[in-house]
Amino acid sequence: MCDMLLSRINPIRFAFFFLVIALVGLLVDNAYYQQVLILIGINTLLAVGLNMLMGYAGQISLGHAAFYGIGAYTTAILTAKYQIYPWIALVIAILLAVAIAVVVGLPTLKLSGYYLGMGTLGFGMIFNIIFREWSSLTGGASGFVGIPSLSIGSLSFESGRNYFYLVWFSVWSVFLICSRIINSRAGRALRSIHDSENASMAVGVDTMTLKLQVFVLSAAFSALAGFLYAHYISFISPGSFDFLMSVRMVTMVVIGGMASIWGALLGASLLTLLPEWLHAFSEFEMVVYGLVLMLVMILMPQGLTRGILDIYERSREKYRK
């Protein structure tokens, strides 16, 4: 059975992924490349979390940057203003994101399709306004400075290499968590909602609760990403957690291919690298994402990963004939 096959292949994949992370960390010395890789890692965390919600459960969110921001601002405020130990701040940041996800998710997930999109969009905007306007706490539009760097005992994460390992082993763990969920009872139920919510209920899946759970899970991953981002950059401002960021996250998921954790890696890489390469289009970023989203949806609705595989298979068949 395919699941047995999966359970055999999966450990190999994860061991391989682990090795690649270890090697890349050792080999890359250049500070700029380290920075790019760290940002890719943080974006991958965002993408894989949202992918659980969008790709697997089939529920869109246009406001997930809010959870990213909640993670970043919570840790910034707690560590810089109140000198709370960062790892405790991480726990609080995630718990806060979880709590807010429950409160927001309960009413919004009852919506579907466009309405869910609009509901989450509104929620994202409200939080962006909070980040921007509650200046006494968040530093307002000019941002929040002086977020301390991370360390565990004498192990400091100030160097690019150590931070690279911190971020990428987080990615590795989150991938493992997601892959275990996907191939479990709860994960199958989740995927079934995507295909037919009606049938899913009819076989006894409590779809509302499950959707809420995965919404909360993806919020927690986004908050983790926000935490890692804040302590890396040490400066945050509302612009990093706005509607454009939410759209960027959705684009990463769609490009990488919904319902594929490895696709999230590809989508996040592309969307981190492209703006780096094409500084010129930064003014038109929104337009470009819109176009990319449209093109992918029209030409490769399964995402780039699946799309490229399909083209490859088709061309092979042509040659055989």
Binding site: M1, C2, D3, I177, R180, I181, N183, S184, R185, A186, G187, R188, A189, R191, S192, H194, D195, S196, N198, A199, S200, M201, A202, V203, G204, V205, D206, T207, Q213, L217, A259
Partner: protein, 272 residues
């Protein structure tokens, strides 16, 4: 083959009359805007029978199933299952209690494999959640093995074992119907509602379906069968109810129904 997880004794040691009917509908009405889809429907379903539900298009058969399974709530009346009121309960709660269904327009989880469809069907008989999956608790492993075993038994039961790893959306239509039945049985129901399971099947497939339904019944599952294929319904049903424009027109054995003039006029006559 008796790999249903339901023992056949179940039926023999529970005489229908002593424990009361398994499913009781009393004065059920349901309207959609101006359309009275169900109008004061009352009937009982004794344990262990195959109850045919027939009636012309738009008679309210699917609505009846939707009301029983909780997909729609009746405007008035009661639905009792094993003596307990289930009207107004959530769909997933009713499945857990033991009522499963298939859909008139097959609704599979198309992107998932054939085996996975049945595994999702086992959902209500498991209890492991996200945390169990993440830390791979022993009970999660045990449950996963049980789910795999159970679903391969069920695929075997409907004859789809060799298709286990195919994408379910790619199955030929007739097999999709069988898969939907396997998925419904995976919840270990005591009542199975089949909504036109023979629609789109050829004659051979329909005959096989008939014996499959009988096998399901002999494993102790009570079956409600909505079906336009008269020869199938008349041969395998123990009892038949006839709906016409939302009302219960007649009720009886297949023989009685066939000789009922009102039914002939409203329904069978048109078909001929």
């Amino acid at each position: 083959m008796n790999d249903q997880g339901k023992n056949t004794e179940n039926k023999d040691c529970l005489p229908d009359s002593s424990n009361g009917p398994l499913l009781e509908l009393a004065n059920i009405s349901k309207a959609f805007g101006g359309v009275q889809a169900l109008n004061d429907i009352t009937f009982d379903v004794p344990t262990g029978i195959i109850l045919g539900v027939i009636g012309p298009n738009g008679a309210g058969k699917t609505t009846l199933f939707n009301v029983i399974t909780g997909a729609y709530e009746a405007d008035s009346g009661n639905v009792r299952f094993s003596g307990k009121e289930i009207r107004g309960k959530k769909v997933h709660k009713i499945v857990t209690q033991g009522i499963a269904r298939t859909f008139q327009n097959v609704e599979l989880f198309e992107s998932m494999t054939v085996a996975e469809n049945v595994m999702v069907g086992c959902h209500v008989r498991g209890r492991c959640g996200f945390l169990d999956a993440i830390i791979k608790t022993p009970r999660a492993k045990r449950e996963e093995q049980w789910i795999m075993k159970r679903s391969s038994e069920l695929l075997n039961f409907v004859g789809l074992s060799s298709q286990a790893d195919q994408r379910s959306g790619d199955l030929p239509f007739g097999w999709q119907r069988l898969l939907e039945i396997a998925r419904a049985l995976a919840s270990e129901p005591s009542v199975l509602l089949l909504d036109e399971p023979a629609a789109g099947l050829n004659a051979t497939e329909t005959r096989q379906l008939g014996s499959l339904i009988q096998k399901i019944r002999s494993n102790g599952v009570t079956v409600l069968l909505v079906e336009h294929d008269m020869s199938l319904t008349m041969t395998i049903s123990d009892m038949i109810i006839v709906l016409d424009r939302g009302s219960l027109l007649a009720k009886g054995t297949p023989r009685e129904i066939q000789s009922n003039e009102a039914v002939m006029a409203a329904y069978l006559g048109k078909g001929k």
